[in-house]
């Protein structure tokens, strides 16, 4: 098994206006895969398809080498899931919630669950419904981790949590990943958070997966160049020109993809000077990618 999650030509239609088309996700075993995309781009729908909670119109899904939705009931015992919205009974106490959850997972690890309870500073006699948003977020992560899954599927697990809680929750996640070579599929709006630990990035827009690359390649490949005396019609470019705009007078700013350092030689010609090569961080790269994908500016 090479991929913890794999989909092939996946199609799904929720309404006349929204569909997922031709989705080909590949989450390698052991990867921490960051799943990005604007609101409504289809991230949560994709996650629900992968877990067998929605039926695709066409296409193939496999999770940990098993076919979904056919094998979903058996394979989901090895998958830790943190949904976007908590789905737990608000009357049960934290302790009861854990006991309820533990009953479904043969691999549930009580000693570790107890340690996480203390580490997260959770009051076990509190009803789930009375917990703060941050405490609920911690309970959700605790449940997903204490079942000792091979794969974690996390849908905005830190959304709306304060920075201290986010840090605790992510530290516990990475502690688990270090102990056991688990694969992680995580969607988040907090791009800078993903930048710290993801080694793969997938970007959704409008129901399509527009990019799927190792993080390093994503970050290194996209640059902003400042050029004075830029050639009017660039020919035989060694990189991909995503967009260009006149900054002032003879200076232009180019946004490029698949840039490599030796390509600055391209600008060694009379009257042309490459004055600056600027790095874009993940967030800037993401924004630029969406902007150019939706139609390059004139």
């Amino acid at each position: 098994m090479m991929n913890a999650i794999e989909t092939d030509q996946l199609h799904y239609r929720a309404a006349k206006t929204f569909h997922i088309s031709g989705l080909g996700l590949k989450v390698p075993v052991g990867a921490i895969y960051g799943f990005l995309g604007p609101n409504g781009s289809g991230k949560t729908t994709t996650i629900r398809l992968v877990l067998g909670l929605l039926r695709p119109l066409a296409g193939r899904i496999s999770v940990l080498g098993h076919e979904i939705p056919r094998d979903a009931p058996s394979i989901l015992a090895q998958v830790g899931f943190v949904p976007e919205q908590p789905h737990l009974d608000s009357i049960l106490t934290v302790r009861e919630t854990l006991a309820f959850h533990a009953a479904f997972y043969p691999t549930w690890d009580w000693p570790w669950a107890e340690r996480l309870l203390r580490q997260f500073d959770l009051e076990e006699r509190q009803p789930f419904g009375r917990l703060s948003k941050g405490q609920k977020g911690k309970v959700m992560m605790l449940l997903a981790l204490a079942q000792r899954p091979e794969l974690l599927v996390l849908d905005e697990p830190t959304d709306g949590l304060d920075p201290v809680v986010r840090r605790d929750v992510l530290s516990a996640l990475l502690d688990y990943v270090s102990q056991r070579r688990a694969s992680v599929f995580i969607s988040s709006h907090l791009i800078h958070e993903l930048e710290r630990f993801c080694d793969w990035i997938g970007v959704m827009d409008n129901g399509r997966l527009i990019t799927q690359v190792p993080m390093e390649r994503f970050k290194n490949g996209i640059k902003r160049l400042r050029i004075s005396g830029a050639p009017p019609i660039p020919e035989s470019l060694p990189f991909v020109l995503l967009g260009r705009e006149q900054t002032d007078g003879a200076t232009e700013t180019w946004l490029v993809r698949e840039w490599e350092p030796q390509m600055s030689a391209y600008f060694d010609r009379p009257g042309v000077t490459l004055t600056e090569v600027m790095d874009l961080d993940l967030e800037e790269g993401f924004v630029e990618l969406l902007r150019t994908f939706r139609g390059p500016r004139a």
């Binding site: 530290s171 270090s178 800078h192 710290r196 970050k219 961080d281």
Partner: protein, 126 residues
């Protein structure tokens, strides 16, 4: 030691971690025989991918700064004084390169830079 690590920087995270440790070793802050934090601990503390920490430690091992002992952890090796001096010289070039790049961007000339350095050192020692 790791407070200044910047995930948004173009320098890969593993290289940033390795560089912080190399400086600590060169400065004698981490002595021979000292244990580096475990991969698990450092990954959780910095909220980073454990693979990133492992890569940093491997690089330091290849350069002879540390030794990874199976099951026991990663330890600082005896680094000859010349080795530490060489590392300090390397860090000095890194600092100067950064300063020159920033100065270039701001349009500060070399003589202005030299005057500023002289003045700073004068202030320090007076």
């Amino acid at each position: 030691m790791f407070e200044t690590i910047d995930p948004r920087s173009a320098t890969p995270l593993y290289a940033q971690i390795a560089s912080r440790l190399r400086i600590a070793i060169a400065a004698g802050e981490l002595r021979p025989g000292a244990a580096l934090p475990s991969v698990r601990h450092l990954a959780a503390q910095l909220r980073m991918n454990p693979a990133t920490v492992v890569q940093a430690y491997r690089d330091l091992e290849d350069e002879g700064f540390v030794e990874m002992r199976q099951g026991a952890g990663t330890f600082v090796r005896e680094v000859a004084p010349e080795g530490r001096a060489r590392e300090r010289a390397r860090q000095a070039s890194v600092l100067v390169r950064q300063m020159l790049a920033d100065a270039g961007r701001l349009g500060v000339s070399l003589s202005e830079l030299q005057a500023a350095i002289a003045q700073e050192i004068g202030v320090e020692t007076s």
